[in-house]
Symmetry: C2
Subunit: 140 residues, 2 copies
C-alpha cells in the first residue's frame, strides 16, 4: 500500500512503525481534516492499544517533517491536512466542514497586487485565505 509514505519516513530518518502508518492512513481515509480525536477513534478499532500521547506526538512529527499540515479553526481544536501543496480553506462554521481550495490564478492576482502595493514595515512570507460560508447541500 503506502510504500511512498514508508519511503518518505525513511528519507527523513524516521522509523516506520505500525502506529505511524495507521495514523497516516486514518487521515487519508477520514478526509474532512480530522482532529486528533477523530483519528484516535478511527484507529481504535484496528489498533485498540494506541496511546493518545502517541497520536499527538506522531502528528507533530509529521508536521515537522512536512508530511502533514495543521489547520486551525474557530474552535480551539487543531485539525490535520494531508494536502501539502499551497492552498486555502473553505470553512463552514455551522457544520465545521473544511475543504481545500486551490486557485493558482487567484494566488497570482494577490501576489501581483502585493508586488505593486508593498506593505510598509512588513515582509510577506505567506498569504492564506480563510473563506467562510456555507456549503450548498448536495444529494449525498
Amino acid at each position: 500500500m503506502s510504500k511512498v509514505f514508508r519511503e518518505k519516513l525513511q528519507e527523513k530518518g524516521l522509523k516506520v512503525t505500525p502506529q505511524r502508518v495507521a495514523i497516516f492512513e486514518a487521515i487519508l481515509e477520514l478526509e474532512n481534516h480530522p482532529t486528533a480525536d477523530d483519528i484516535i477513534a478511527f484507529i481504535k478499532t484496528n489498533h485498540p492499544n494506541i496511546s493518545v500521547g502517541t497520536v499527538y506526538k506522531v502528528l507533530d512529527t509529521f508536521v515537522e517533517n512536512n508530511l502533514l499540515k495543521k489547520v486551525k479553526t474557530e474552535k480551539d481544536i487543531m485539525r490535520y491536512d494531508p494536502h501539502l501543496s499551497n492552498h486555502h480553506h473553505l470553512y463552514c462554521s455551522e457544520t465545521d466542514r473544511i475543504e481545500d481550495f486551490e486557485d493558482e490564478k487567484l494566488n497570482e492576482l494577490i501576489g501581483d497586487y502585493f508586488n505593486k502595493h508593498k506593505i510598509k514595515n512588513f515582509n510577506i512570507q505567506d498569504i492564506k485565505l480563510q473563506i467562510t460560508g456555507k456549503f450548498k447541500k448536495s444529494l449525498t
Copy 2:
C-alpha cells in the same frame, strides 16, 4: 472618558459595570491584540480583585454584542481586537505581533474575482487574509 462605550452598553441592554469599563479600556490601551491574560495582568493594578472568569465572560459578551472581535492565532490562545470594521491581519510568527491591515482596493479585487469565479457548492460569507511574515525592525 469613554462615554460612547457606556452608551453602547446601554443600547444593548447591558449594565455598565466598573469591570466592563476597565476591560474595554485595557484593550484599547494594550493595542497589540491582547490575550485574556494580558488584560487581566493590566487590570490587576487598579482592580486587584477582578476575577479571571469575569474577564472571559465580559470578553464573550463584548464579542456577542459586536464591541470586540476575536482573533485566532497559530497558538491556542484567543486574542481580542477592538477594531470593528472589516479588516485583515498581519502576523509575525516570531514575535506574535499582530497588526490590523485594511485595504479596500484589495477587498474589491478579491470580491470581483469571486464574483466572476464562483466556487461551486459554496456560498461565500466572508474572506479574511492571514498574512504572515516579518515586521521590519523600526527604531522603536
